[in-house]
């Protein structure tokens, strides 16, 4: 053996004993001087994802944009509400570090956009995570037990389908008064969990008939253990993909609500309300173009990452390139 450290990739079959495929004689492999490296499905997925160029570009973009938003206190040259009436509606320039110009009361627009990213990013991430968890639990129960839970859920989604989401959102936002960031997050979660629940339900409906579920039941595993220990890992792929895309969706929807004045109210800047604010000054292009551009970049990056995750986690699904 010239290469004693060559590793063998072993795609794990169904049964794993301590992470190593059953039936492989460790001794014989060691005797050949080969190192055995077991790779789980997750490590395969990770490798596929890391090799996906567009996904890596998207991930890099997201880290930069969301990083700036998260560290707004340190990155932004000014605070979002620092008024300077001597320097109103200034076009973007490097003078005084107003790279994005200033708004109608002289606030530095770059800082406002960065704080706007922070708001939008919080809304997007919280909505995606909470609605994924909620949709996962609900969809799992509906798909596993079927029966009335399932029926109820399908009727609820039917109802939601008859009214366009945005219209219903506007009505509910008007009802709850909108305004605060957390009210908006709450409303969005209320709408975003249904598609994820539907996906999980669909997968669960087919998985519950699989042999390994039957086997788990035969050895006496409880419903809860079967659902979350055995079946759940097989649904995580689509849920992660859907959850990622939901980040972009939630950010755009929040921007839409804020744009129409039913979303997050000033002085807290969000990307949507910044674009809306710029509408009053069509000649000061930077006021609406720049925050909108950031929105577009976020959506593109999230979509790239989502596509990469889909290719990595859900290889059976045929790729439809955008």
């Amino acid at each position: 053996m010239t290469e004693p450290t060559t590793s063998i990739d072993v795609a794990p079959p169904a049964a794993l004993v301590d992470g190593i495929p059953a039936g492989i004689q460790l001794d014989s492999i060691a005797a050949q001087g080969l190192e055995l490296k077991a790779r789980s499905q997750w490590s395969y997925a990770r490798r596929r994802f890391l090799r996906h160029k567009l996904a890596m570009i998207g991930l890099f973009g997201l880290v930069v944009i969301f990083g700036a938003g998260a560290a707004a206190n340190y990155v932004a040259p000014y605070t979002f509400d620092q008024i300077d009436l001597t320097n109103v509606l200034h076009a973007p320039s490097s003078v005084g570090h107003h790279f994005f110009g200033t708004d109608e009361i002289g606030r530095d627009y770059l800082s406002r956009v960065i704080y706007g990213i922070r708001t939008s990013e919080q809304v997007g991430l919280v909505v995606a995570v909470v609605s994924s968890i909620f949709g996962l639990i609900f969809g799992a129960i509906a798909g596993y037990y079927r029966g009335w839970v399932d029926n109820l859920m399908m009727r609820v989604t039917d109802l939601v389908l008859t009214l366009p989401v945005l219209v219903t959102l506007l009505t509910v936002a008007a009802l709850l008064g909108g305004g605060s960031q957390w009210t908006i997050t709450f409303i969005l979660v209320g709408f975003f969990w249904t598609p994820i629940a539907r996906v999980v339900r669909g997968v669960f409906l087919s998985l519950r008939e699989k042999e390994y579920v039957e086997a788990a039941r035969a050895v006496g595993a409880g419903d809860f253990r079967i659902m979350f220990r055995h079946m759940l890992p097989n649904t995580l792929g689509p849920v992660i993909v859907n959850g990622t895309l939901a980040v972009a969706d939630a950010i755009i929807t929040e921007a839409f609500l804020s744009f129409l004045g039913e979303g997050i109210k000033p002085p807290t800047p969000s990307l949507g309300s910044l674009v809306a604010g710029g509408q009053q000054y069509p000649q000061k292009w930077w006021l609406s173009v720049l925050p909108g551009l950031v929105l577009v970049l976020i959506v593109i990056c999230v979509n790239f990452v989502g596509d990469g995750l889909r290719d990595a986690l859900d290889p059976q699904q045929r790729r439809v390139r955008a």
């Binding site: 109802l159 008859t162 009505t171 004045g261 909108g292 593109i300």
Partner: protein, 323 residues
Amino acid sequence: MVSYITRRILYSIPVLVASSFISFVFVSLAGDPLANLRANPRTNSPQILNHLKHVYHLDQSVFVRYWYWVESVFTQKLGVSLLTSQPIWPDITRALGHTLQIVLLAQVIALFLGVAVGIFSAIRQYSVFDYTFTTVSFLGYAMPTFWLALILQIIFVDIYLKWHVRIFYTSGLNSGVISSTWSLDRLQHIALPVITLTVVSFALYSRYMRASMLDVINSDYVRTARAKGLPERLVIFRHVFRNALIPIVTVSALQFGALLGGAIVTETIFTLDGMGYYFLNRLQASDVYAVMAYLMIVAISVITFNLIADVLYGFLDPRIRYD
């Protein structure tokens, strides 16, 4: 087929009733229709307010109020606005007409462009043409509508202010005098909203068309058609194209149904008197009956076009059976 359609229509009635009740509760809780009157206590004494409350059934439970609304929908053609005492029907049909004009134009243009681009992208997969248009449609898909509309508005306002050339108007439906539906003045007014909606729908259609063309091109019967020596043009247009259109028919029917509710954002930005603009306006004034009339028209159009999409799908693809 007839029994399928009948069943679907019957099934949609309880859904409509339930969704109308839920939205009625939401909308009537959302705002106070008497807020404007209340703001002026001098002319509107508590007695007057109480009287109005009684007349408009605002002192009743939400169930009773819902029933009054249902009654007015059937006896008074979608009812009379409680706020302005104007009948809703003429207002909402006028708005629907304007929305219809914009949506029809945008959909026809987007369908033609989207289908054509989708076909050529699929035939010349990974060519420069393909890459260019997949990027364009990806951008169109990622762009929020309001941002696109605002940029168009900014550009044309700037052009007018700099060179005093009026190419397209950036707000309203006509300048001054009311112009007829297809006059040049009207077209100059609706051009920008039409472009906005076209870009959004084009992104959708070209992606779908490309994907479904590629799907069909790689199928066995296309290989057979090529193998028996058919000219490539015939293969593409007789065998591939026709089958690839099926998903587009469904998608465009759904899109059309959804857009009849008006492109809320687009109409708001260009201050167009369409459905979406009407809805937002009435919602902010808490005009319950008007908002409900809008929601019902939208729900019915969505349900109808969903049904049309499903029926067309079965008609175009005999492999699908409804039982």
